[in-house]
């Protein structure tokens, strides 16, 4: 790391090398990543409204700045200045903590995601990276349950309980759909998974079923349409965040969009070759990018960003296209279709891997 | 390197707190949480010994303990739901039908 940026690295001359490598650099990277992600998340809200407007043949926000492009600055300012209401009978402490809980894991996960060719764009490369990501994303549900419970409002509570049931249910196919990829790459490290794909093909081809299940589960995990039952406005007012206003509401909002971004990054890394554009080791591989220097590295980042942007748009597309599921249909889809399908996918993948290896040997 | 004993002592503290919770509380769900705390203290001890001995067997036990803890939580909480339905309480002192 210090070899690529000698000037900056020399600033830390007095700090022992392992500290620089393991503490200082990741911190700097994380702060930069955090700032960029906050920007992207805020910008996504604008993009969502514009794209939805386009899909529904209307304009969308277009007043603040040219083409409404500054709307994403105006929204947080508005939310910041709004009155912070605490409902009577709310559990004060829990009500206050709840919006913070989903946002911590949502942003913490970005520490583990490589945004481009390593080591420059990867904050950390943990050997159990994927498992840790699953673990962290599974803790995001607490804020929602707690927020729903602490609000002292039956709609909030119902929204919170629905959300808990939904997220716990869809965590299972979410995890199971990844197993096929893990079997193919033989590693839990995201960098390694991408590396395997550039040497062969994108995992989406051999793992089409897994990719499909992942896509459905990741949409359900972040409570997006067509699985946005926890906040179904026609039945539950606004679900778990009915009683939240101002910045606390913004935190829930931010966490949802950050989780969307995490899942979009994950699907790109797991199934669509991450930052590479290569088949069977030919094309833009990590190695080519690293030999090209900063240009190549930035190119890798841009490729990654473009792929992620596609999936972010896909979320919005889903919202503009599909009607909302009923709760019993949602549970049925999760438990009776997605989980068995994912299990069959694992078994078939295992058999195929076994046959190919034995045939090749 | 942190000495193994430190982890063991920490595990002992957590375990004792769990025991304390089980013995003093009347709320069934809190008692259950105390049991989970004890289970976790045991896990900590297992991992500490696994590190001390440089062996994977401790880790394996932790996996099985986690499986047992998950099963226990599922069944136990179902029992408390059933109890609440019949008795409208989760006070363990009230569940004394089999008590002589």
């Amino acid at each position: 790391m210090s070899a690529t940026l000698p000037v900056v690295a020399s600033l830390f001359g007095s700090i022992p090398e392992p500290m620089v490598q393991w503490v200082v650099w990741p911190t700097i990277k994380f702060v930069i990543a955090f700032a960029i992600i906050m920007g992207i998340v805020a910008f996504t809200t604008l993009v969502e409204r514009r794209v939805l407007g386009f899909m529904q043949a209307r304009l969308g926000p277009n007043r603040v700045g040219p083409q409404g492009i500054l709307q994403f600055v105006a929204d947080p300012i508005k939310l910041l200045l709004k009155e912070d209401i605490v409902p009577a009978g709310a559990q004060k402490a829990a009500y206050f903590i709840a919006p913070m809980l989903p946002i911590i894991p949502a942003f913490l996960v970005f520490c583990l995601i490589p945004f481009g060719p390593p080591p420059t764009f990867a904050i950390t490369d943990v050997n159990v990276g994927l498992l840790l990501i699953l673990a962290l994303t599974s803790t995001g549900v607490y804020g929602i349950i707690l927020g729903g419970w602490a609000s002292n409002n039956k709609f909030s509570l119902l929204g919170g309980l629905r959300s808990a049931a939904q997220m716990v249910s869809y965590e299972v196919p979410f995890g199971l759909s990844i197993v096929g990829v893990l079997m193919l790459s033989g590693s839990l490290s995201l960098v390694e998974i991408v590396h395997r794909q550039e040497l062969g093909v994108w995992n989406v081809l051999p793992q089409l079923v897994g990719c499909f299940i992942f896509l459905v589960a990741m949409t359900a995990e972040v409570n997006r349409a067509p699985f946005d039952l926890p906040e179904a406005e026609s039945e539950l007012v606004a679900g778990f965040h009915t009683e939240y206003s101002g910045m606390k509401f913004a935190f829930f909002f931010l966490a949802e969009y950050a989780s969307m971004l995490v899942n979009a990054c994950l699907i790109v890394i797991l199934f669509f070759g991450g930052w590479t554009l290569a088949i069977a080791g030919k094309g833009l591989t990590t190695e080519t990018m690293q030999t090209m220097g900063w240009l190549g590295l930035s190119l890798g980042f841009l490729i990654f960003a473009a792929k992620v942007a596609f999936f972010m748009i896909l979320y919005i597309w889903f919202r503009g296209t599909f009607p909302r599921y009923r709760f019993d249909q949602l549970m049925e889809l999760g438990w009776k279709w997605m989980i068995p399908l994912a299990l069959v996918n694992i078994v078939v993948t295992g058999i195929v891997i076994l046959l190919v290896r034995n045939g090749g040997a | 390197m942190i000495p193994t004993s430190w982890f063991l002592i920490l595990g002992a503290i957590l375990f004792s707190l769990g025991v304390l919770g089980v013995l003093t509380r009347r709320n069934g769900i809190t008692i259950f949480m105390s049991i989970e705390l004890m289970v976790n203290a045991v896990n900590l001890t297992f991992i500490a010994y696994a590190r001390e001995l440089g062996s994977l067997h401790g880790l394996m036990w932790v996996f099985f303990i986690m499986a047992v803890a998950a099963a226990e939580a599922a069944v136990g909480l179902a029992i408390f739901i059933a109890l609440y339905r019949h008795r409208e309480t989760i006070d363990v002192d009230e569940a004394n039908l089999m008590h002589w």
Partner: protein, 229 residues
Amino acid sequence: MTDPLMLTGVSLALFVIVGAIAVASSILVVSMRNPVHSALFLLLTFLCVAILFVSMGAEFVGAVQVLVYAGGIMVLFLFVVMLINVKALPKEKVFTATSMMGVLMGVLLFIILAIILASGTWAPAVNAPENLRTAVVVKTTPVVDAGGATIQTETVTRDVVGNAEAVGMALYRDYLVPFEVASLFLLVAMVGAIVIGKRELDASEEEAIPEFIAKKVSDEDRLKEVTGA
């Protein structure tokens, strides 16, 4: 030595801080009146223990700890606490003879455990955490001659980097039977939980379920009914 947790100062500070948080929050688990608060502090304790697992070189178990306890068990706890009316909390008297006995027993147990443990080693661990991190996998392939008799066995030794792989190898080779038993055990627990937790509906409640949820009408028929097609 590239492991940050090997830096004595950092690992010591980590242990002290995380351990203190774990102890403090577990005290709060057993002392909070509201089970939701207890559950949240228990969650904090679990996360602290997970950090300690990682600091001992067992990243895989640490991640599984967060996944199983934080992602599964505690959500279940919170779910049940919310299903059960919070107003029905039992009245807990703190300074009764029983609870004082409980406290006494807890303290006594700790003293006994401390005495046992204190007589043990206070020296640094014999084996470095790398031993948890790398396992040597030995693959044996019998070499057979033309007649089919085994002349010798070729052993392939390989260093496994990554706790996950080491754990996986141990779990699916040495502990295969216990693993299968555990899966069966989980199945039994699942069936048991459903049977115990399930509520029989009485006739009036049975009536109240909308037809489309009771699956008396298929979704297609329902769609036709709604759209009038």
